[in-house]
């Protein structure tokens, strides 16, 4: 161990290849950019998290414990905008994707390293604009920016918040572009499409959504901004414009955006499940193609956000039918992961606990999606806490669990050091329990009819809201623990070695932390992915 520690300090790797602020801010190394993203999105997660905590405290009392309704509205808007656009969407793609895509395909870097750095700067500019909007008075339109509230009636910093989202969208587009080109053109010799780890398939599918969806929300926000500036525009009912058109254009991106969040997590889980059962993935091609299928179908279903919006009921029927189709590839994935455990050699290290937690919570979240794709039940549940519960199960229970699982899995590769596994397992358990306590009551209170985004609610909903707030406090503790031990481990953790989990994949064949060029020489791939047992 002592020699290994010395090795970590003496050997040149990407972390000690340069020191000082400049070596970070001007780096084009995809691994360092991943670290920059990790730090920034953790910051934005804290911003959104503080808002979440305040929201849950406020809702303990039916009349609102702390804030005026206007302040409450700003809080949930801030929570939504930061969590969706500045944490969830960049989380796995920009952090783990940036770090792993070149390493997994056996390349020295992404195809366009400078563009990659530019993406981070664009992201930060967007983030700063959104922060500006929040600090100087806040924004109260919700993260959905529905017109005409956002164009005409809101008196808050809609412009700078929308501009922030607009700008950060280009970061998302350029990251997706970089990944697609890299996966197409930079694969190591022998790395055929069907030898690629499933994480790459997931990243590829995610990138398709980022490339083809994000521009639409960008132009939509431009139209909103123009309407706000000139007091007339294409969504303005005064000239015959239709606010529902805004919803179409918005959800054309924002529904697939949910899959930008969940698909990469699915990729991570595929990696974790195989590694910790020492087994090939069950039904490789089904999981791979279901990722692409989800990406494509996700663009056909946006109208289910609009069943009661005044959209034509015939369009509602078409969108309902298409929405159910997403259930199929999602189900295929869940069943295949479960089947991978069969006759495996299952160990319960922390990343695996996160992965199993993901499967459970994603199942619950996905199945409640059926209620919302069904026209008759959605009429009752739309815009209630049922919806809030549903998408938190997918985004927090699913995507964040996947992100944390991935961070725990590749942490030794990123930092070269191990974290205390006991603490990590404890945190995983606390998060799982806290999460369910927070969001399960929201399904119930939603079915009772409590509308979302209410600062003040009828007293009969109080019990369930108090339960939810109590769960949230547990969840907050659960998220705080990894923050502490992961930071601790960067300096004091035991040295990991190149492959602490006995995992397969090119990224584990290079030292931890990897050298700047990733590989001494470009590897040649001669086996399938997940060739455990060979």
């Amino acid at each position: 161990m002592a020699t290994a520690a010395v090795d970590l300090d003496t050997r040149v790797h990407y972390l000690n290849a340069g020191y000082g602020i400049k070596s970070w801010l001007l780096t084009t190394d995809h691994k360092r950019i991943a670290i920059l993203y990790m730090a920034s999105i953790t910051f934005f997660f804290l911003v959104g998290g503080i808002a979440a905590v305040l929201i849950r405290i406020h809702l303990i009392e039916p009349n609102g414990a702390i804030f005026e309704p206007g302040t409450y509205n700003k809080l949930f808007s801030m929570h939504g905008i930061f969590m969706v656009f500045f944490f969830m969407i960049p989380s796995i793609p920009a952090v783990l994707g940036n770090f792993l895509v070149p390493m997994m395909i056996g390349a020295r870097d992404l195809a366009f390293p400078k563009l990659n750095l530019l993406s981070w700067y664009i992201f930060m500019v967007g983030g700063c604009l959104a922060l500006y909007a929040v600090i100087w008075g806040g924004v109260d339109t919700g993260w959905t920016f529905y017109t005409p509230l956002s164009t005409t009636y809101a008196n808050t910093n809609v412009l700078s918040a929308a501009l922030g989202v607009f700008v950060s969208g280009f970061s998302s587009i350029l990251t997706g572009l970089n990944f697609v080109v890299t996966i197409h053109k930079m694969r190591a010799p022998g790395m055929t499409w069907f030898r690629m780890p499933l994480f790459l398939w997931a990243m590829y599918a995610t990138s398709i959504i980022q490339i083809l969806g994000t521009p639409v929300v960008a132009i939509t926000l431009v139209l909103v901004a123009l309407e706000r500036l000139f007091h007339v525009g294409v969504f303005d009912p005064a000239v015959g414009g239709d606010p529902i058109l805004f919803q179409h254009l918005f959800w054309f991106y924002s529904h697939p955006a949910v899959y930008i969040m969940i698909l990469p997590s699915m990729g991570v889980v595929s990696e974790l499940v195989t590694c910790f059962s020492k087994k090939r993935i069950f039904g490789y091609s089904f999981i791979a193609f279901s990722s692409v299928a989800i990406a494509v179908i996700s663009f056909l279903v946006w109208g289910h956000h609009m069943f009661v919006s005044g959209q034509s009921i015939y369009a509602g029927i078409v969108f309902s039918a298409l929405s159910f189709l997403v259930a199929i590839p999602s189900a295929i994935k869940v069943f295949n992961w479960t089947a991978t455990l069969y006759k495996g050699s299952v160990s319960y290290q922390a990343p695996m606990l996160y992965a199993l937690g993901f499967i459970g919570l994603f199942t619950m979240g996905g199945l409640t999606g059926l209620f919302l794709a069904t026209l008759a039940t959605d009429t009752h549940l739309h815009d209630t806490y049922f919806v809030v519960g549903h998408f938190h199960y997918i985004m927090v229970g699913g995507a964040v669990m996947g992100y944390l699982g991935g961070i725990h899995f590749w942490w030794p590769k990123i930092t070269g050091r191990l974290y205390p596994d006991g603490w990590a397992r404890l945190a995983a358990a606390i998060i799982f329990i806290g999460f369910n306590l927070t969001f399960f009551p929201q399904y119930m209170v939603g079915y009772l009819g409590m509308p979302r985004r209410y600062a003040i609610y009828p007293p009969e909903f109080q019990v369930l809201n108090v339960m939810s707030s109590a769960g949230a406090s547990i969840l907050a503790v659960g998220y705080a623990i990894p923050l502490v031990y992961l930071i601790w481990s960067m300096r004091y953790g035991p040295v990991a070695g190149p492959n602490p989990w006995g995992a397969k994949g090119l990224e584990w064949e290079t030292p931890s932390p990897p050298p700047t060029e990733n590989f001494e020489e470009i590897p040649v791939v001669r086996e399938e992915a997940y060739a455990y047992g060979e």
């Binding site: 009636y153 083809l212 007091h231 000239v239 529902i244 058109l245």
Partner: protein, 151 residues
């Protein structure tokens, strides 16, 4: 290098046909074809775009993946437009409540308020018709007012 060097001759031929098509589309606008005016104009535009893409943008000599990228972008555009129009053009199929047709269908019923103020629209006739009481408590007088102004 793998890339194809295209003879100048081809470029000039394409250039000439693009100019000719521009003239054609402008000329066709002065011929009455009824609804076909739009369709013809769009077909000509598609032809021109195809020529530019195939020759000026070298798509004809590019690897297949470039064509896949372009076609998928067009496919996604088609998804966006077709599913959105599905909504807009089937809304009127819903039975319209009696007495409300005029206001429901005609969007010309809007009052334009002075600049900078959000517009309201004229109260539908049914309100006035059904309100059999004193005008001062009628909803109609409640409505026209300067609303909250944006920004």
């Amino acid at each position: 290098m793998p890339d194809h060097v295209v003879p100048k001759k081809i470029y000039f031929a394409i250039f000439a046909s693009l100019l000719a098509l521009t003239g054609l589309t402008t000329g066709m606008a002065y011929v009455n074809l009824g609804p076909w005016n739009t369709i013809v104009a769009l077909i000509i535009a598609c032809c021109k775009a195809t020529l530019v893409a195939l020759f000026f943008m070298h798509l004809r000599w590019s690897p297949r993946v470039m064509r896949v990228v372009l076609l998928s972008a067009l496919l996604w555009l088609a998804i966006l437009i077709s599913l959105t129009t599905t909504d807009f053009f089937s809304r009127d199929w819903i039975p319209i409540p009696e007495g409300w047709e005029s206001s429901l269908l005609r969007r010309e019923n809007f009052n334009r308020n002075p600049r900078g103020q959000p517009a309201t629209w004229r109260e539908p006739q049914s309100f006035a018709r059904n309100a059999g009481r004193d005008a001062s408590t009628n909803l109609e007088v409640l409505t026209p007012r300067a609303g909250t102004s944006g920004s």
